[in-house]
C-alpha cells in the first residue's frame, strides 16, 4: 500500500501506540497508515483524545510506536539509536509546539541557531541560517530580542523559524496557533503553507477548521484511527456550484 520513493518524506505504516499494559492498556493509535510527500501540507483533525498529538510525536521520533513502523525520508526510525535519532531530528525534522518551548535566556536568533549549533554547524554559519529563517517568518528585525521582549505572536514566529531553519524537510506543528489572535494565527498558516510550497512536508495538528483548510489534505482521526480524508478539489466550477446559494 505504501509507495516508497524519493519524494516521500514521512511514512507511518500500520502504526499503533498503546499506553500501559493488561487490563488498563489504552490504545492511543491503531493501524494508522499515513504518508506525506515533499511539498505536501497535511492537517490532522479530531476530537481531544483521538490521538492527534500521539501521531505527531511518533512522526517526529519523540516517541516510539508499539507496533508498525515510522520512516523519515525512507529511514526507519526503529533502526536508529538515541543519538542517531536526535541527530535526524535536529537535521531533518522541525517541531513547532503550542507553548513555543523557547529558551528565555537566549535571543531570537540564538534560539533559532541552537539546533544547528548542537549539530556541529559553525556558530557563524548557524547564525546566518538563523537570520535567514527569521526573515522567512517576517521578523528579521527582532533577531537580538529576548523572549520577554516579544509578544506571543512574535515568539511563535521564532519557534517556527527554529522549526524551518537549515534543510528541514519535515515540519511538524502541534496546535501552533493555540494562544494567538486570528490575524497572527493566519500569519502562522502562511509561513507553513509557503514552506510546503517550497518543498517541505508539513503536518499540522489542529482543531480549527479554518487552519486545517490551508492544507492540501485533511486527515480525520477518531479513537486512534484515521476515519476519513478530505482533499481540496481546487476545481473552480465546483466552487461556484457549491456557493450557488
Amino acid at each position: 500500500m505504501s509507495v516508497q520513493g524519493p519524494q516521500q518524506v514521512l511514512e507511518l505504516a500500520k502504526v499503533g501506540r498503546t499506553f500501559g499494559a493488561g487490563a488498563t492498556a489504552v490504545a492511543a493509535l491503531r493501524d494508522v497508515d499515513l504518508t506525506i510527500g515533499a511539498g505536501e501540507f497535511v492537517a490532522v483533525m479530531g476530537p481531544s483524545g483521538s490521538g492527534k498529538s500521539s501521531l505527531l510525536a511518533l512522526a517526529g521520533g519523540l516517541d516510539r510506536p508499539t507496533s508498525g513502523a515510522v520512516f523519515v525520508e525512507s529511514t526507519p526510525l526503529a533502526g536508529l539509536g538515541l543519538n542517531e535519532l536526535a541527530r535526524l531530528r535536529r537535521r531533518a525534522v522541525g517541531y513547532v509546539f503550542q507553548d513555543f518551548n523557547l529558551v528565555p535566556t537566549l535571543t531570537a536568533e540564538e534560539n533559532v541557531a541552537l539546533p544547528l549549533e548542537l549539530d556541529g554547524t559553525s556558530a557563524r554559519k548557524a547564525r546566518r541560517q538563523a537570520a535567514d529563517a527569521l526573515r522567512q517568518v517576517g521578523i528579521p528585525e527582532l533577531a537580538s530580542r529576548y523572549m520577554d521582549q516579544m509578544s506571543g505572536g512574535q515568539q511563535q514566529r521564532v519557534a517556527i523559524a527554529r522549526a524551518i531553519v537549515g534543510q528541514r524537510r519535515l515540519i511538524l506543528a502541534d496546535e501552533p496557533t493555540g494562544a494567538l489572535d486570528s490575524t497572527t494565527g493566519q500569519g502562522v498558516m502562511e509561513v507553513l503553507r509557503s514552506r510546503a510550497d517550497a518543498g517541505a512536508a508539513v503536518m499540522l495538528v489542529t482543531h480549527e477548521a479554518r487552519h486545517a483548510a490551508w492544507a492540501d489534505r485533511v486527515v480525520f482521526l477518531r479513537d486512534g484511527r484515521i476515519i476519513d480524508q478530505a482533499t481540496a478539489m481546487h476545481d473552480p466550477t465546483m466552487l461556484l456550484t457549491q456557493a450557488g446559494l
Binding site: 477548521a209 479554518r210 473552480p236
Partner: protein, 201 residues
Amino acid sequence: MSIRHSLLALLQDQPRYGYQLRVEFENRTGATWPLNIGQVYTTLDRLERDALVAKDGDDGEGHVVYSITPAGQAEVRSWFAAPVERSNPPRNELAIKLALAVTLPGVDVQAIIQAQRVASIRALQDYTKARRDTAANQRAADTAWLLVLDSLIFQTEAEVRWLDLCEARMVQQAQSAAAATARKASNGATEDSPLNADARR
C-alpha cells in the same frame, strides 16, 4: 439573493443593457452566483413594469439599454439602508436533516455529521485556496471578490464548528445514557425511581 436590487444598483452607476448587467454583476461578485441571462431579462421587464427602470433606446447595435428612474434610485437607497431580512429562522437544510436524524430510530447520526464535515472542510479548503490566490494578485478589482470569499469562509467555518458541537452533544448523551445503565445494573435501582428502591429494602 435580490437580483432585482442588484440590477437596479448597477443601473444607478450608468445605463446598461441586459448582457452588460450580467457580466458586471458576475465581475463584482467573483462569479460566485452565476446569473442566467433569462433571469436578467425577466427581472428587467418587471422593473420596467414597476417604473423603476425605463428603456433608453438602443446602443446602435441592437441592444436595448435600460436606465434607472428616480423611483428606482429611491428603491436602491432604501435597499442599501435596510439590513438584509432574515427569513425567520433561516431555512437550513443541514439543521433540518440533523434534527430529523436524531429523532428517528436507526439513523447513524455520527456518519451524517462526519460526511458533512468532510464536504464542508473540502469547501473550506477551496475557498481558502481561492482567497490565497486572489490575495496574492493584489488587484484592486478583486476587493469585492475577497469579501465574498471571506463571507463564505466564515459561514463554512461556522458550519464545521456547529457540527463539532452536535457531535460532542451526542457523545455526552451516549455517555450519560451508558452511565445510567451501568448504575442500574450495579445497584438494582432504576434511575428514575430511587425512592421505590429504598422502599423495597
